[in-house]
């Protein structure tokens, strides 16, 4: 699975995700990636989220939207909301999970509970960074 989140100079937020699913998956199986609110979500003024991991749990937990809800209704920061989702909630299901998210102020969060996640970001300083492991 691959994904991207962005904040532009006019303050607009967007998210996109794309996947092949998983090795040997049943024909017709669909995971969280194409389900808005599960694998992908964006709301101006709050944040944009793109998820990766075992999709069934992300769907049942409406994971991408959960980040937006935690920030909108519980006043959590991006970091608090994404860590709670990935490191607490999804980890309790004992599944591999990760996401990238950016909020309206340009803060970036990229938590994952596996040994690695291929990821990259360019923030306000304009510096390009790429990483694969912790």
């Amino acid at each position: 699975t691959v994904g991207a989140v962005a904040l532009d100079g006019d303050g607009r937020l967007a998210a996109a995700t794309s996947t092949g699913g998983f090795n040997n998956k049943p024909a017709g199986r669909v995971g969280d990636t194409p389900v808005i609110g599960a694998g992908t979500y964006a709301r101006n003024g709050v944040c944009a989220v793109s998820c990766t991991g075992q999709g069934e749990v992300f769907m049942r937990r409406v994971a991408a939207y959960d980040v937006v809800a935690r920030m909108s209704y519980a006043g959590q920061t991006l970091r608090q909301a994404t860590d709670a989702l990935v490191l607490d909630m999804l980890s309790s299901h004992r599944i591999g999970a990760g996401l990238v998210a950016v909020d309206a102020a340009g803060n970036v969060a990229m938590p994952f509970n596996t040994l690695g996640m291929a990821r990259g970001w360019i923030a306000a300083d304009g510096r390009l960074r790429v990483a694969t492991h912790k």
Binding site: A6, D10, S18, G20, V100, T114
Partner: protein
């Protein structure tokens, strides 16, 4: 107004070092950087976040190193069924496709669904036909196949035949 930002992922998992050669790891990182640059060119020129995320995902779909587009995992029937979505936080518009088999860049089809249909999600052969009707690049299903995925499927099926699939690693299961 805030400074632009782009962040991307290429999937999470064991990312075991022995799963790829050093050259493959280097190319994986190079393709991540290329995806960031494709998005940054848009953002730095005052472009929209929506265009930036689409551009970044297209680069990753075209890379053989990620489980999306070219390089995607194989189903139990040894074919590719791909899923993608996109969402514009400014308008709350969204588009998605699932179980498509012939769309070279599924994220572009997701955007077409968002902008040129009344739907949010289109599925299967109808989504493939929608993409073709809207002039998106279409390919044979084999375009998405890489040797690495063929071997991964064969390894998991061999485990199933031996009755040891429960011992399969995360990497074997998900790739």
């Amino acid at each position: 107004m805030p400074s632009p930002v782009i962040a991307i992922h290429g999937g999470c998992g064991t990312l075991a070092a022995d799963l790829q050669s050093a050259a493959d790891w280097a190319e994986t990182r190079a393709h991540l950087a290329a995806a960031l640059r494709a998005a940054w060119r848009i953002l730095a020129a005052g472009g929209a976040a929506l265009d930036a995320v689409e551009a970044a995902v297209v680069v990753l779909e075209d890379s053989p190193h990620f489980n999306a587009g070219h390089g995607a995992a194989l189903t139990e029937d040894a074919v590719h069924e791909l899923d993608a979505s996109i969402m514009d936080g400014a308008t709350m518009a969204a588009g998605a496709v699932c179980t498509v088999r012939t769309i070279r860049n599924p994220v572009r089809a997701a955007r077409a669904v968002m902008e040129r249909s009344d739907c949010v999600l289109l599925a299967g052969a109808a989504a493939d036909a929608f993409a073709q009707a809207h002039g998106l690049a279409c390919v044979g299903n084999g375009y998405f196949t890489t040797e690495r995925r063929v071997q991964a499927l064969a390894a998991l099926k061999a485990r199933a035949a031996r009755g040891t699939i429960a011992l399969a690693s995360e990497a074997e299961r998900h790739g």
